[in-house]
């Protein structure tokens, strides 16, 4: 039983021992501060975003609750019901082409670069919550959008204004309508609630102006959103659930303000988790430094410990004294990290403002900081306990006999058990605080295994160096023996740099593959344009217009309809989803098309396509995802609701769709003879040389104002920018790992400085010139850096390969230049640190040292 008196005595002794200062703990403090700081910063930013999402939930959603209907308006009966529930604001979102009105200066030149916009038409009640603000300070949305002199107003965001050189008063054409710019949007409250990636800038008009655009036609890709202000006291979440039950087959997406932007929430959660895990790697690398510092401290305290024992202090008291010191220092390091983690997001806040659709509420989030602190504390203890446990076994006889303490024993069993328990706590903490616990568990196992592997590699290098034949060349021979002599740095270099480099290699390879896919592979295979909302009666003329543009080729058009899967094998589809990860197949509409025969290069997984002249009962070709979601195959029966009409069809074929071609892919394809007369639009893809793209766009926009042209390169550039930004965030955190590793290594090299000075002096006494001494150390550090790079490169490549192919189901391409860069970086760091230490050693005068020895 530990008494308070005992603890007080331990605290008193601990405090006295620390009077010598914390010089030896600089690396300890820095490592902890860096690791905790990285996690705290990530958590603070995520906390800020989540608080915004929670606090501004109503503004982000646009109401207490919202009902979204994709591609069609609510029916009159549904609308009436909604009006009965509360105040309803209706908005329509779609992609469209906007260009300067023909009578505006520069209009003709702008045609080729006419902008794809995210068009939003709002009714007179918009916004129900929050404020839309304009750069001129105004927020009178309705007044600005209203018709003046027969021309409706429009609000644009600054990107569109810059792209089309627009200023208030200029006129724009969207579809068949001309609108006048009446303001530049500064903040749009419900922007984050839309849930989809914005491929173009915002253009906002009044709902009253929408019919004149001619863009809303049967089958047009429009999202209708009904935002509701519910009566005071209504439980929005319960209401949202109730709606699903009232209209189970309406294909509505109902959300309440507490879950205003689920996709953004999920994205932020996952990104924060990923960055936290990378931050944890930095902390683990720092842990090695923590362990080193504690070991050095305990070595330096051997005499104090032996003296204390000699004076009658029991081992338990010794353990308490030094544990208290470590806890106090860890507290200091963690506090530094928390300050760093709370302050950094303030600086990062501005950079983030342009990247996120919402403003992060940067502030101090005690719960999230506590999590970072807990990570720091457990890591510090995990890495300190071993040397602490060893130290309490220092024999008092050490005071009489040198070398008694040299035999470092295993810590007592209870210390080992405490160590195992703390390691389990650390791992559990990482897993339990993650959204994707399976991924986190893999990370914990992987990080643990990697640490052990690098430990083993260090031992392996030492043993191998011992076994190798002695080279005749003195510098080489000395370098080789430096790798395995007692107190060598081999294990430390590999361990401290290895983990950080592995993370960097993995991150660089994953990001490199993403960028390659989006920046090179996809564009190489992809068509130049997607055209959407082509009306059936425009199809022939559209074909002629497109193909008349020199260079345009490979024009493909496909009918496009929307349908909901309502029943599978006669039972409600919602209840038939076997795989919870594929619940999305029954949430809302899916694209449906029809065609007579299999597209070229189609990959059939099961069943067979219908004959080209098939005219029997309806058959379906479904995608692999849909088949897996319901656990069905050819022969199964599925009922689709297309524009309210239910069609039962037999599944004929299951297909593996390749979305990486960016061609037209439909997850549901119906046999001919069923949907031909249903209201529909057509999609088209076309290829054109880069030089002809502007001409092609101009030709289509001039002839068909309602057709939206999506330039694939621009869309991919948008996606690419997102990937680059995410990659940047990951790399910054991963770099912290490398900085921590470098610090650890610098600390270890500094600890071996005396030995190095001694070696250098003896070599100089024996007649070695500086260049020889330098060469020796360069060979030693160069070899260690290269070996570390090779192991890290292999492990990082394995990790990247597993993540890309197993977790993300992507194609894997080996990128050797990334590995070469890593090898260079690793060798450069070790050489630089080693060289700095050696240079200092070489500058020491020999005489004082020799006299002392």
């Amino acid at each position: 039983m530990i008494t308070l008196t005992e603890l007080k005595l331990a605290a008193r002794l601990a405090r006295r021992e620390l009077r010598g200062g914390i010089r030896g703990f600089r690396i300890f403090l820095l490592c902890l501060a860096l690791g905790v700081g990285a996690i705290a910063a990530v958590q603070s930013v995520a906390g800020g975003i989540q608080r915004s999402l929670t606090q501004d939930g109503r503004a982000i959603l646009g109401g207490d609750a919202s009902v979204r209907v994709l591609y069609r308006e609510a029916t009159a009966a549904q609308r009436q019901w909604l009006e009965g529930q509360g105040t309803v604001a209706v908005t329509a979102d779609m992609r469209a082409m906007a260009r300067k009105a023909a009578d505006q200066p520069g209009a003709e030149a702008d045609l080729g670069a006419a902008g794809l916009v995210e068009l939003k038409a709002v009714d007179g009640r918009y916004p129900l919550y929050g404020r839309l603000t304009l750069t001129d300070g105004g927020s009178d949305v309705q007044a600005r959008l209203a018709a003046r002199g027969g021309v409706f107003g429009a609000l644009v965001d600054d990107t569109l204004a810059a792209r089309l050189s627009l200023k208030p008063g200029d006129r724009l054409t969207v579809g068949d309508a001309t609108v006048e710019v009446r303001g530049i949007i500064d903040h749009e409250p419900d922007k984050a609630g839309s849930g989809s990636i914005a491929l173009g800038p915002r253009l906002m008009i009044s709902a009253d102006a929408l019919p004149a655009t001619g863009l809303v036609r049967p089958g047009s890709l429009v999202n209708w959103s009904y935002q509701l202000r519910l009566p005071e006291g209504t439980d929005a979440a319960a209401w949202a659930k109730g709606v699903d039950k009232t209209f189970p087959d309406a294909g509505w997406r109902v959300r309440d303000f507490q879950n205003a932007a689920p996709q953004l929430t999920r994205f932020i959660d996952r990104l924060a988790q990923f960055l936290t895990l990378v931050g944890l790697t930095a902390l683990l690398v720092g842990g090695v430094g923590v362990g080193n510092a504690v070991r050095s401290h305990m070595d330096a305290s051997v005499h104090s410990i032996a003296t204390l024992k000699c004076l009658g202090a029991p081992a338990r008291l010794i353990f308490q004294v030094y544990l208290m010191q470590i806890l106090a220092l860890a507290g200091l390091g963690i506090a530094g990290g928390l300050v760093l983690g709370a302050v950094l997001p303030l600086a990062a806040g501005r950079a983030l403002a342009g990247l996120l659709p919402i403003t992060a509420e940067i502030g101090v989030y005690p719960g999230r900081l506590a999590l970072a602190a807990l990570f720091g504390l457990t890591t510090a203890l995990v890495f300190s306990l071993w040397p602490l446990g060893q130290a309490q076994g220092v024999p008092a006889a050490r005071l009489f006999r040198e070398g008694s303490a040299g035999r470092r024993g295993r810590p007592p069993t209870w210390v080992l058990m405490a160590l195992a328990w703390l390691a389990a706590v650390l791992g559990s903490l990482a897993v339990l605080t993650s959204v994707d616990q399976k991924l986190a568990a893999f990370f914990v196992i992987g990080a643990g295994a990697t640490l052990l592997l690098f430990l083993g590699a260090g031992t392996g290098i030492t043993r191998l160096a011992r076994l190798l034949p002695r080279p005749r060349q003195p510098a080489l021979r000395l370098a080789l023996s430096n790798l395995h002599r007692p107190g060598n740095l081999s294990g430390m270099v590999v361990l401290s740099l290895g983990l950080g480099l592995t993370v960097l290699v993995a991150v660089a390879l994953i990001e490199g593959n993403f960028r390659r896919e989006v920046g090179e592979s996809l564009p190489a295979n992809a068509p130049s344009f997607f055209f959407v909302d082509i009306q059936p009666d425009q199809l022939d003329q559209f074909r002629q217009t497109v193909l008349a543009v020199p260079g345009a080729h490979d024009l493909e058009t496909t009918p496009s309809l929307r349908g909901t899967i309502v029943r599978v094998e006669g039972k409600p589809a919602q209840e038939q989803v076997h795989d919870p990860d594929k619940k999305w197949v029954v949430n809302g509409d899916r694209g449906v098309t029809y065609q007579a025969s299999a597209p070229a290069g189609d990959k059939v997984m099961a069943g067979a396509w219908w004959p080209a002249d098939y005219s029997g009962p309806p058959k379906l070709a479904i995608s692999k995802d849909i088949a897996q979601a319901f656990g069905i195959g050819p022969g199964a029966h599925m009922t689709l609701s297309v524009l309210g009409r239910e069609i039962e069809a037999e599944v004929a074929v299951v297909r593996d769709l390749d979305f990486t071609t960016l061609g037209i892919n439909f997850t549901l394809v119906m046999s001919p003879g069923v949907l031909e007369h249903a209201p529909q639009t057509h999609l088209a893809t076309v290829r054109a040389p880069a030089g002809a793209e502007a001409a092609l766009q101009r030709a289509v926009i001039q002839a068909f104002p309602n057709i939206t042209a999506i330039r694939v390169k621009e869309a991919l550039a948008t996606v690419s920018t997102i990937i680059v930004n995410i990659g940047m965030a990951v790399r910054v955190v991963a770099a912290v790992t490398l900085v921590a590793g470098t610090l650890v290594l610098a600390g270890a090299i500094a600890a071996g400085h005396r030995r190095r000075v001694y070696d250098a002096v003896v070599l100089k006494v024996l007649g070695a010139v500086r260049a020889t001494v330098l060469r020796t150390f360069l060979i030693e550090y160069g070899a260690l850096g290269l070996i570390t790079a090779v192991i890290s490169g292999a492990l990082g490549t394995l990790t990247a390969w597993a993540v890309l192919t197993k977790v993300m189901s992507m194609k894997w391409v080996f990128l050797p230049q990334t590995l070469v860069l890593t090898a260079l970086l690793s060798t450069a760091i070790t050489l630089a640190l080693g060289l700095a230490a050696t240079w200092r050693a070489l500058s020491q005068p020999a005489a004082p040292l020799l006299r002392e020895e």
């Binding site: 008196t5 005595l9 008193r12 002794l13 006295r16 021992e17 620390l18 009077r19 010598g20 005499h303 104090s304 032996a306 003296t307 204390l308 024992k309 000699c310 004076l311 009658g312 202090a313 029991p314 081992a315 338990r316 008291l317 024999p395 008092a396 006889a397 005071l399 009489f400 006999r401």
Partner: protein
Amino acid sequence: MSPVQSALDLTGLTLTLESAAGRVNILKGIDLAIQAGERISIVGPSGSGKSSLMMVIGGLERPTGGTVTVAGRTLNTLSEDDLARFRRDHVGVVFQSFHLMAAMTALENVALPLELAGEADAFDRARDGLAAVGLSHRLDHYPGQLSGGEQQRVALARAFAPRPRLILADEPTGNLDQETGEQIIRLMFDQARRHGTTLILVTHDPGLAARCDRTIRLADGRVVEDTAVTRAAPGERKGAD
């Protein structure tokens, strides 16, 4: 031999240590009885086992064979922590290299064993102890701010502070000049006499050995000579004490 109780009994004591070169027999069967209040010098060439014998007596090293009984307690069966408590209550050690806690003041160093024993008046007694060795003016100085002689006086005060029954001194003057060493020896003998403490000291100095009541000579891990010291003149004895 006088009929007073033994302060120390060693029977068939052996010590074997592992070293890189193999097992080394350090002590090879030592039998020894020391009476309370005796002043013993242990002499012998380097490597004869003097310091090892001290360590075994102080419970700092476990014997490989035989029994060690100090102040009526057999040390062989005590646990590591029991041995630490035993030292705290019964043994004071003075080292050649002083071994003061560098981060503690002179006062704190002397108070330390008393604090470990849970004595409420640790600092008052430490102050008295430092006064007894003439260091009242150095209470708040750190070891690094003291001369070698002053450090050894602090070490003496620390060793005597808990009033131990046994003081072990390993070459206590080995790191000091002759004059300072003489002061330390005088202080040590004086303190031992005042408190009736048994004093065992390891030394290479024949003059110092001659001031003790008894000299035990070790060679190759065995006692080769155990003689009572006969003093030539009373003045010398007086000078020593």
